[in-house]
């Protein structure tokens, strides 16, 4: 059978191309535009080539927040993914309690970011906050997120875990529910240990939802802005100033639009790269 060549079919791609152009490419081009020029006003602009990129990549302030950002996202993933899996495994599967669990788990996901920040900002205060008061006055642990860098760090981490572990747990729960009973029955017949059931049945079947969970939690945590901003404004010092806050300060506070644009692109490429690495690593093992 001969294949009919008809290049007019390319026209069918046009709607998608236009959609993507308006939703992503054109807005991003404005940033590209700023990143390679120094723009003062409508009439005076100078092409600077890769200068802004060079400057941004050598800026120690950005190096610091980039490092902080990587440590933070790594901590988030290392805590939330195993914890989410653990919760999903222990959640009841039938009856009234499973519904109760699902509802309770969903509540944190429905709360807006700045509200979550405010909740913990008050909750953790030593004078009027329940948590702060408990730690300081009842348990005798000195805790002050406004003054102590590691306290602030831990608080920001706890906020994220509180806010988003549910998402991981719910995704895993849906993955677990999709496993037919017969797999567990076969495993019992084969005398598989609980660990073997987890390793060879549950984990492989959860893989696709875990991939989504890891990607979402990585991207979200890598872009964290509101919670540390509401809690301490990035302090004490710069201890909880992550990438997006540094970028915001640069773009809107100092009005350094050129370096900010260059930095935005680098930021975007980092997220793209890491996401790609995760995706490839998690799907690659299937091919062998």
């Amino acid at each position: 059978m001969t294949k009919v060549q008809n290049n007019k079919a390319w026209w069918l791609v046009l709607p998608v191309f236009l959609l993507v152009a308006f939703s992503a490419i054109i807005p991003m081009m404005t940033v590209v535009n700023y990143s390679v020029q120094d723009i003062f006003d409508q009439s005076s602009r100078y092409f600077v080539g890769a200068d802004w990129f060079r400057q941004v990549l050598q800026d120690p302030r950005l190096h610091d927040s980039l490092l902080r950002q990587f440590i933070y996202s790594a901590c988030v993933l290392l805590i939330e993914i195993p914890l989410g899996i653990g919760i999903a495994l222990t959640m009841p599967t039938k009856g009234r309690w499973s519904s109760v669990c699902l509802i309770v788990m969903t509540i944190p996901l429905l709360i807006p970011f700045n509200v979550v920040g405010t909740i913990w900002q008050i909750f953790g205060r030593g004078d009027i906050g329940l948590l702060g008061w408990m730690l300081n006055d009842v348990l005798g642990i000195s805790y002050n997120y406004a003054a102590n860098a590691s306290d602030a760090w831990v608080t920001v981490l706890v906020i994220d875990v509180w806010h988003w572990t549910s998402l991981v747990a719910l995704l895993c729960y849906s993955g677990l529910r999709a496993i037919p009973d017969v797999y567990y029955q076969a495993a019992r017949i084969d005398r598989a240990s609980n660990w073997a059931v987890f390793r060879h049945i549950q984990l492989p079947k959860m893989k696709s939802v875990l991939l989504i969970a890891v990607m979402l939690r990585f991207m979200d945590s890598f872009m964290i802005y509101t919670e540390p901003f509401v809690l301490t404004g990035g302090g004490p010092g710069n201890s909880t100033t992550f990438l997006s806050q540094t970028l915001t300060t640069m773009a809107l506070g100092q009005f350094d639009l050129g370096p900010a644009a260059a930095f935005s692109l680098v930021y975007f490429l980092i997220i793209l790269l890491v996401s790609w690495v995760f995706y490839t690593a998690m799907t690659h093992s299937e091919k062998n």
Partner: protein, 376 residues
């Protein structure tokens, strides 16, 4: 290696069963002897899988006992019962190779690796899995996966019994036959009790020495394929086994026998006495299409019937006859003449079965072979 005994066993999925309809398994007592090859035959939803899961220990019966030899195993897990089970749909461990899949149950038992290797190679040979041993189980086709699934059941030769729950559903027809032969060979080689659940009578009779036919949560007959064919103990067995199934006609008792629509069917003295002594609400006679006698010409013993349809199936023909308002199927060998328009038939008394409330009614002396009982 064990004899499996079910004692007054019953199971209901509801917490407070009120009547027999609530039971998936109605009270039964049954013995699977050590080393037998058995089939559990019945339509979907008759309780076959439930019964199998109770034997393997995946399900705990609500009433009665399961015994392996003399030990009550009700509270023992499948591991403790040391039983293997193959399920209807393939279950493989995706992350492992075919070799590791087959080795998995052995390694879980703590078998030394050298011995594991021998056993796995042996079973891979039997199931033609040799070329696949190094492949990941995930990429296999459905029937390859099912072979791996079966292999995991067969690889342990110390098991009390191997249970098969319609294991060949997903397998190609030509391979089905081959695998059934394999199972039979394995059975002969290792002398393991095997219980094979199916709804396919051909599958059941080629695999098993004895077949238990299940219907509505009970075993209505347990016997060799020949017994099920020649002397169904329940109208369901008559209808379900054989192709086409048994002719069943509702009758009323008459002097000297039973009758319907002006047709009189004489019964033996002993059977008449038995009928008189039995309480019943429906009474039926049954005769297999193979056993209806077709006469070449009219005679005094024969009943006249209208031929309504002739179906030619090559080596035999199936006639549909109308006798006193009742439709009958009759199987005629190809070398016999096919009656046109009218047929003269009779029901040989040794093949005419009487069913009261769906269960076979026999003359009291049922230790004698069927042929001698009815010839009097």
């Amino acid at each position: 290696m064990a004899e499996i005994r079910l004692q007054q066993l019953a199971h209901s999925y509801s917490a407070n069963p009120t009547g027999p309809e609530d039971y998936a398994i109605r009270e039964m007592t049954h013995i699977w002897e050590q080393g037998g090859a058995y089939a559990l035959l019945g339509p979907s939803g008759c309780g076959k899988s439930t019964l199998l899961n109770i034997i393997s220990g995946l399900l705990s019966p609500s009433e009665g006992k399961v015994l392996f030899d003399t030990t009550v195993v009700n509270d023992m897990s499948p591991e403790e019962r040391n039983i293997a089970q193959v399920f209807q749909f393939p279950v493989v461990y995706d992350t492992m190779t075919v070799y590791d899949n087959l080795a998995f149950p052995l390694r879980n038992q703590g078998m030394p690796e050298a011995k594991v290797k021998i056993k796995v190679q042996e079973i891979a040979d039997v199931l033609d899995l040799q070329p696949l041993l190094k492949k990941k189980a995930k990429g296999l086709t459905a029937d390859e996966k099912q072979k791996v699934s079966m292999g995991r059941g067969l690889v342990r030769d110390d098991v009390s019994a191997i249970l098969f729950d319609e294991p060949l559903t997903v397998i190609d027809p030509h391979l089905k036959w081959k695998l059934r032969r394999k199972l039979k060979q394995i059975h002969e080689q290792f002398n393991i009790t095997m219980v094979y659940v199916t709804h396919d009578q051909l599958e059941a009779s080629t695999f098993a020495d004895k077949i238990a036919v299940m219907y509505g949560g009970q075993i209505v007959q347990f016997g060799t394929p020949r017994e099920l064919f020649e002397k169904p103990h329940h109208t369901f067995v008559g209808y379900f086994i054989g192709s086409p199934g048994m002719n069943l006609i509702e009758v009323k008792p008459e002097a000297g026998g039973v009758g319907f629509g002006g047709i009189h069917l004489p019964l033996s003295e002993a059977l008449q006495q038995r009928l008189a002594a039995t309480q019943w609400s429906t009474l039926k006679v049954g005769i297999r299409p193979e056993f209806v006698h077709v006469w070449d010409s009219p005679n005094d013993d024969a009943m006249q019937a209208d031929v309504t349809y002739v179906e030619d199936l090559g080596t035999y023909k199936i006639l549909t006859l109308k006798l006193a308002g009742q439709l009958l199927k009759v199987r005629v060998q190809e070398d016999k003449p096919v009656p046109q328009g009218q047929a003269w038939i009779s029901f040989p008394s040794q093949w005419l079965m009487l069913y009261a409330d769906e269960f076979l009614l026999e003359a009291a002396a049922n230790t004698l072979p069927a042929s001698e009982v009815s010839h009097d």
